[in-house]
């Protein structure tokens, strides 16, 4: 059974989606991710969708689910690399994915995750790395 690989990068988990997510695969991803967050005590989940060319309402729901599940498990999540055509289609469909944090690419996604984590831990984000 095909499963989407989840990479551990320090405190973060990186998921790169490159294939079309059909039902079974999506369900597996959800449970794999939640288990991985617990196992590694991850603070952040980064989902790279730069290779995904179609997001329908099913996939949109999965992405939303992953966001909520991660948060419940104590991890922040961010989705990166959405293609312009996909964004425009989602907007037309009426799926604005509110509640899902987004970033342009992996690098910016990690920055966002770090600041979200600091915020959630009650610290303010200071470029000079001084915490208040």
């Amino acid at each position: 059974m095909e499963r989407i690989p989840i990479l551990k990068m320090g405190d973060f988990l990186l998921v790169t989606i490159q294939v079309d997510l059909y039902d079974q695969l999506a369900e597996n991803l959800e449970s794999d991710l939640v288990n991985a967050v617990k196992k590694h005590n991850s603070k952040g989940v980064l989902i790279d969708i730069s290779s995904v060319s179609i997001i329908d309402s099913f996939m949109g729901r999965i992405l939303g689910n992953i966001g909520v599940m991660s948060r419940i498990m104590g991890a922040q999540s961010v989705i990166v690399g959405m293609q312009p055509a996909v964004a425009m289609t989602l907007v037309e469909l009426g799926l604005t994915l509110t509640g899902v944090a987004t970033a342009l690419n992996v690098e910016k996604g990690m920055e966002l995750l770090r600041s979200k984590i600091l915020l959630s831990e009650g610290q303010s984000y200071d470029h000079d790395n001084n915490t208040e």
Binding site: D20, Y22, D23, Q24, S53, I54, I55, D56, S57, F58, G60, R61, Q83, P84, A85, V86, M88, T89, E92, L93, G94, L95
Partner: protein, 139 residues
């Protein structure tokens, strides 16, 4: 519906969710053949994805006809989704934004309609539903 000529026709049987991905690829091929740009391709395939999932979820499976058509000015892709499922009791209600019977986001049909140029739905309770959509190359 505007008068159309059929340039190419293909039938697809949808029974299980594994049929969805190959089906989407066929739709993409048709869109590419017609010369559709990336944005319109994305809209068409996304609409097709929505409708094919409905086919599986509510219609118990069915068939999809993929046709490349022409209205005399430009080419386009027409998709006809037919099932022999329970049918939709109130089509107007289903087309209203926010309507939902399943656990979907309640945005299925009206949202899908916005992605395409022509949208037609015929449904009879107890007999089945047929949804036909057309996306023109520059639509």
């Amino acid at each position: 519906m505007i008068m159309t000529t059929i340039l190419n026709k293909q039938d697809f049987v949808i029974i299980r969710e594994q049929d969805v991905v190959p089906f989407r690829n066929q739709v993409k091929d048709a869109a590419v053949k017609v010369g559709m740009g990336i944005l319109n391709q994305t809209k068409l395939i996304t609409a097709a994805s929505e409708l094919v999932r409905n086919l599986l979820k509510y219609g118990g499976g069915g068939t999809v006809e993929i046709e490349t058509v022409s209205n005399g000015r430009e080419n386009g892709v027409r998709l006809r989704f037919s099932d022999k499922g329970p049918g939709i009791k109130d089509v107007d209600l289903a087309m209203k934004d926010g309507y939902s019977t399943g656990k979907s986001l309640g945005l299925g049909l009206p949202g899908t309609k916005r992605l395409v140029n022509e949208f037609d739905i015929q449904s009879t309770v107890g007999e089945g539903t047929t949804v036909t959509i057309i996306k023109w190359k520059n639509g």
